[in-house]
Subunit: 336 residues, 2 copies
């Protein structure tokens, strides 16, 4: 068990002890902005799927502030992700948590920041801070996505007993090796992708299941934010109920084929793409080695895999477009 | 109270009586595909915001089938929307509900269809079946979006007591008049919009709060499905954390300014658009008359308003693009 998982296990134990006299933890909210919100998606799906008693929600910080669930209070835990601890909406959401008597768990990278004063627990996650996240030498099991999952898994296990707790821990032990190998595996195809897609004005990402958040992040943080390429994420199950009508030979798609329970949805969408589209980049979790993680828990590891394979593509794309991933026109530059 | 609301009130009463000995209703799931899923969005947000005990979820039917929540069973209610009762994934999800002993509420339009055999309650909603939904002579309070909301409101009220129940009922009484007036109000601007946007290859929709589902539907059902225009929906709170970097003079946006708790998010995005974008179509719920509904409940009526104002725009757009809203290349035509 890594240090973040240990810290979170203790935090959940203490929170349950603290709230015992008022009925325990009844809600677990995941709140953040942009990429920090996307990273919390697998944890939200874990609670939705595995818990039978805990109410959950996955909110943009500003939406959470303005349309706060009525039950948010002493029986709630709130997990907020805030990379540098300085996102105003997320700081306010953390402050609201403090004010309402909720247990506030902050996932953040910097040691010191404005937000940490509002955390009952401040978890400093692992982060590959090298240019374009290329170094690949971190312990991926300590990343924010998994930290959020640890909160979900510990809370469900400690309140309802989670049958696959040990399998999940085994998955955690394996994920870093899987990711490192996968990043090497896609090196050449990432270069090919960059050449093929560098002049596109628009790219779709596609996904389903607990890994959907990774496709959301690739769409809004990379294509839109860092490459100024218009983009949308399509759920592979929703694809056949509207979106597939845009499919054509010249429309580019990046599709995640996940491992686990929703794989069939992704494969169905890929079969259709293979018939009617021509420009398809496929990231297949099985081919990328995720199947070494037990099928009872593998769903929740798709995000970590895909989200850490994308940087290889993103770096190659930025090189080909001559648009560095760090270039912004509005973010941190103008008032908003 | 209209007939759908009456039927649903009774259905919830009966379900609570039936499940009393096993602890009542603990989960309320909303399941559908494409536009039918989008229409269930406000009801999901209602439970998330107003209930403190009921677990909820909003799922594409095929995702629900493959990644079914572990607690789905006799303590669950599932609301499925299926317009003609013939969507295979939704039929299977309804059948799964029956098999698991959940209470199955079907929202559907046709009197007879394959799905209705799986419904404990079959609610036939109002629907404007005129070409391009232009007639505008239906009772909008009987539409599927509001039927799903009735389930949510009744369940929360009958189990936890909903303080704004009467205000909600007043909103229901007002919504049809608001929508009819709003549809007339946008007639000319819809024609202008169509001329301005008819050659676009890509259009963003934007929204927040309980009305977000209407922007999702406009993006996937109209722009993508019925006009073959690439499109994405951006949450106005998320906009500043990635997506806003695509903003430019030539990028077209359709933005919903909702009434209620998240209005500030939408107004902030609009202020930014007004500075850095040039092609902005604004649908403002306040201007369109929604403020006559009490502020304690108005959030949940944004969807009905926007979703019924869009058809005026959509008809004008289809006229201008000479691409009828009924034209498909894949849906119902090829195998998928």
């Amino acid at each position: 068990m890594n240090k973040q998982a240990e810290q979170i296990k203790t935090a959940v134990e203490e929170t349950l002890a603290k709230t015992e006299s008022i009925g325990g933890v009844k809600q677990l909210y995941f709140v953040g902005c942009g990429g920090s919100l996307g990273a919390l998606y697998p944890a939200k799906t874990f609670v939705e799927t595995e818990s039978s008693t805990i109410k959950t929600g996955w909110y943009n910080s500003n939406e959470f502030l303005h349309a706060t669930p009525k039950d948010f209070g002493p029986n709630s835990m709130i997990v907020l992700a805030c990379h540098k601890g300085n996102t105003p909406e997320t700081i306010k959401a953390a402050a609201l948590g403090k004010e309402k008597g909720a247990t506030v768990i902050l996932l953040t990278w910097l040691e010191e920041s404005e937000i940490i004063q509002y955390g009952d627990y401040v978890v400093h996650y692992e982060f590959d801070a090298s240019p374009d996240h290329l170094a690949g030498d971190i312990d991926y099991a300590g990343e924010k996505t998994l930290c959020a999952l640890y909160v979900a898994v510990e809370l469900v296990n400690q309140t309802e007993s989670y049958a696959n707790y040990d399998k999940f821990a085994e998955g955690v032990d394996r994920i870093t090796a899987v990711i490192r190998k996968a990043r090497k595996h896609v090196a050449q195809r990432a270069l090919d992708f960059a050449q093929e897609y560098k002049d596109d004005k628009f790219i779709y990402t596609m996904a389903s299941g607990a890994g959907f958040g990774a496709a959301y992040m690739e769409s809004i943080c990379i294509f839109q934010e860092m490459q100024w390429i218009n983009s949308a994420v399509i759920h592979t199950g929703e694809y056949f109920h509207g979106p597939f009508e845009v499919t054509d030979a010249d429309v580019p798609f990046v599709i995640q084929i996940s491992e686990g329970s929703t794989r069939e949805l992704d494969e169905r969408a890929l079969r259709f793409l293979n018939k009617y589209a021509k420009r398809i980049e496929t990231l297949d979790a099985k081919e990328l080695g995720l199947s070494t993680i037990d099928s009872s828990v593998v769903d929740y590891f798709n995000h970590s895999l895909f989200n850490n394979v994308y940087p290889i593509y993103n770096h190659a794309l930025a090189d080909a477009t001559k648009h560095p991933l760090t270039t912004r026109r509005y973010m941190w530059k103008v008032e908003y």
